[in-house]
């Protein structure tokens, strides 16, 4: 799963801390998501999209994993 959180945040001149506070998560979660290390839940995905005022498709893009569509995100 790819995301444009960093780009959207930069466009809005928003810090990771501010986004974390608005989305109700820790800053570490935002950092992990921006590095594509952590795949958020659908609920958090919608919340982040809502913070940016865009649709969820504008933030997250689904990419099939190399190991298949059902591979665990470890």
């Amino acid at each position: 799963m790819k995301n444009r959180i960093k780009v959207l945040r930069a466009e809005r001149n928003m810090t990771q801390e501010q986004l974390a506070e608005l989305a109700g998560v820790t800053r570490n979660t935002i950092i992990s998501m921006e590095k594509d290390k952590f795949c958020p839940s659908l609920k958090l995905g919608y919340r982040i999209a809502h913070v940016f005022g865009v649709g969820i498709d504008d933030v997250f893009t689904y990419e099939e994993d190399k190991d298949g569509p059902f591979a665990d995100d470890e």
Partner: protein, 192 residues
């Protein structure tokens, strides 16, 4: 309250509770842990309620659940191996000490018996002898000699028995842990 303040408070409360429990165990006052531990939990929960920042989000929860599952896997595998090794000291013949009894007929017609303990898994001989005792007259064995003989045999196996007991304890703990895991798994399986 900030997250760091909450963690500091929790650490202080944990130290205080640990000190009180330690003191109560030394003093033999078992009422203190019954009061101190729930009180400590209440104080920590009250501090947690005052935190205005996010303490644990879904990433944190996912990390904890994976860490818990990995811990369970490691503990179960490691514990099972340890339990089997320790319990084998009770059931395994090569790991048990070799105790032999040799009967002798004395010059006056009475029978005496020499009981000897040899190292586990060894060939009985002077080099592997741990200790031995002789009952001079089997027919006239008094209570003291009988008790000494019983103690001798019991002591010979006591180390193996304590290892076996440790193995049984570990095994039972693992079974209990897996049973609790199973109960929670079924509960959450029904819930979600």
């Amino acid at each position: 309250m900030k997250r760091l303040t909450y963690l500091t408070c929790s650490l202080i409360v944990a130290c205080m509770v640990a000190a009180m429990v330690g003191w109560s165990m030394a003093a033999g006052n078992f009422l203190v842990p019954v009061i101190a531990i729930p009180l400590g939990i209440i104080v920590v929960l009250a501090c947690r309620a005052q935190v205005d920042t996010v303490i644990a989000d879904e990433r944190e929860k996912r990390i904890r659940s994976k860490a818990a599952l990995r811990t369970l896997e490691v503990v179960v595998i490691g514990g099972a191996i340890a339990a089997i090794i320790l319990y084998s000291y009770v059931v395994s013949i090569p790991l048990a000490p070799i105790i032999t009894g040799k009967l002798f007929i004395n010059g006056d017609g009475t029978q005496s018996m020499t009981i000897a303990e040899y190292k586990p898994g060894s060939v009985p001989g002077p080099a592997t002898l741990v200790r031995s005792t002789t009952i001079k007259d089997l027919g006239a064995m008094n209570e003291t000699e009988a008790v000494a003989y019983c103690t001798y045999v019991r002591e010979g196996f006591s180390e193996n028995e304590s290892r076996g007991l440790a193995g049984t304890t570990i095994g039972c703990s693992l079974v209990a842990m897996l049973a609790i895991f199973g109960v929670f798994y079924l509960y959450y399986n029904r819930k979600y």
